[in-house]
Symmetry: C2
Subunit: 295 residues, 2 copies
DNA sequence: TTTCAATGTTTAATATTTTCGAATGAAGCT
DNA sequence: AGCTTCATTCGAAAATATTAAACATTGAAA
């Protein structure tokens, strides 16, 4: 039967695109690599790599096997780590999706530190505000803000957060600071497309629903903040997305406490049935650390 | 570095609760098994099994490692199979959830054949009509009927199907066969709890919503069919769940074509990121074969 | 066309690992 | 204490892995 080392050698051959290069990487003689590879193929009774003396390329079966075995070896390292064995480094690819403001305001500034701590871990960011259908396609982690819909994912709360209304001082100066719902409903809004229906408390804490009056909607939360700062209207924002802008006076809060559904924690989501948890755990710790100051 | 065979021996020791028994199962000498085990522990620098001369028991680390490695070995066999290598049998555990009527009417009668074809595959059935939160907890496969909510699962359609209204002849005799919506709304219904709101076409194909008049609801589709057969009222049923009862005259269809949302195909769902697909593939083929005659 | 350089494979000797029977030890049962 | 049942250790033998060196193939340069 073939060995783990045979599998690892196969991976190395694929990733280094050659027997010689793989041998160098693994500190083995080319003969060994060649031997291991042919043993693997013999025992699987399947050709994994076509090789002529000049090039090496994967067979269709090899393609599939490479993907699978890569994940398996990774899962094994992960299992080793989970029992405290080996000081194996975190490596591989982690696919993460999150809203733009989380990325630009919290992740980006500290990304260097993360890269230095885990140099062998590659990150694929899918940055979008769209809430549905994001994790479907093989994402490892999703950062979500607000109420979770029940999605069969494991969720961990990263930080509490609430949504507030805000606007630029210049806008307020021009249109006045609203004092009640009637006035508020006359104002212009800067919204994400799916935020147009608003649920707000009146002075008796009764919930009113109305549609926001908009000149435009923007489907990216960062750009929408820019629009609010530029004075285009009142915006619904996560508190921790604009706390600095509030402090600097670039934005001011409008009618505090008026939002009916203002609870919008930041969540960390991942599929439950993954064989590898180390990468996601490490990334969770990183995300958690970014929001520590927001508690 | 340790080997695949070391891992497999470890698994065998755990599952046979002893070195000697494991050696017998693997057709090795006890000395070899002992060697392999200690090599594995040495290289992981972790104690996996506490052993005195009488018994063997897993350490906490061993417990974790056992679970992980089991899944990994299985994933590896699966990978081998996926490239057409080896004639490795399908083994392990498959957790399936499905509605009662699918199980009792379609799966049960053919279960023997499946067991004979894949004697090493254990099945865990979670039989329930409840639609939400079922796949959350480590289910491998879910059989669902009706519209799918977007859940991040891979879906394959097993068979087309529609929902119809039906009742027992004895019930119709007593209360009359309804001819229009007004009459229908006066009838008694036998429902699942979440079916009480009905959307029905009137004679102009306009959709009307009303709440079913019920004497009771039952949260199990099989028992609810029994209630309908016993003459307790009109029921909404999947056509393929009661086709035989219709043929035998135990149930009769009521106002064909009146249901507004009658499309209710049977779906096969599974998580996308599983490392093992062979088990689920095999089970999909089985499920598909059960409904062939319904096409 | 010939030659060279780069790459992969084979061969056969060498080194390492694995295996097993037998001996040893440890613990429960009578 | 004596017997039985397991697991481990030992040492020799068997199996497997590794390597250098020779060989083969091919693309490109001369």
């Amino acid at each position: 039967m073939y060995n783990l080392s045979d599998l690892e050698t196969f991976i190395a051959v694929v990733e280094n695109k050659g027997v010689l290069a793989a041998a160098r990487e693994q500190r083995l003689s080319p003969a060994t690599v060649s031997h291991r590879l042919s043993k693997l193929e013999r025992e699987l009774a399947t050709v994994l790599v076509f090789r002529d003396s000049r090039r090496v390329r994967l067979s269709p079966a090899g393609e599939i096997f490479y993907t699978r075995v890569g994940a398996i070896i990774e899962a094994l390292h992960d299992a080793e780590h989970s029992i405290g064995a080996r000081s194996s480094s975190v490596s591989g690819l982690l696919r993460v999706t999150m809203p733009p403001w989380v990325f630009s305001k919290y992740v980006m500034p500290k990304l260097n530190e993360f890269e230095q701590a885990y140099p062998e871990l590659k990150l694929d960011f899918l940055i979008t505000d769209h809430f549905v259908n994001v994790v479907d396609d093989a994402q490892d982690v999703a950062i979500r803000v607000g109420k979770l819909n029940d999605s069969g994912l494991l969720s961990r709360k990263i930080v509490n957060n609430s949504r507030i209304l805000c606007a630029a001082p210049s806008y307020i100066e021009k249109y006045g600071m609203p004092e009640n719902l009637t006035q508020l409903s006359e104002h212009y809004w800067v919204c994400l497309p799916w935020q147009r229906q608003l649920k707000l408390f009146d002075e008796h804490k009764k919930i009113h629903t109305f549609n926001a009056k908009t000149r435009f909607t923007i489907s990216n939360s960062d750009n929408m903040t820019q629009a609010a700062i530029a004075g285009h209207g009142i915006a619904i924002k996560s508190k921790i997305a604009i706390n600095e802008d509030l402090k600097n006076g670039i934005l001011v809060e409008v009618m505090p406490g008026v939002m009916a559904q203002d609870d919008a924690p930041v969540w960390f989501l991942r599929p439950q049935n993954s064989l590898t948890t180390r990468k996601t755990d490490v990334f969770y710790d990183f995300m958690k650390s970014l929001f520590l100051s927001c508690e």
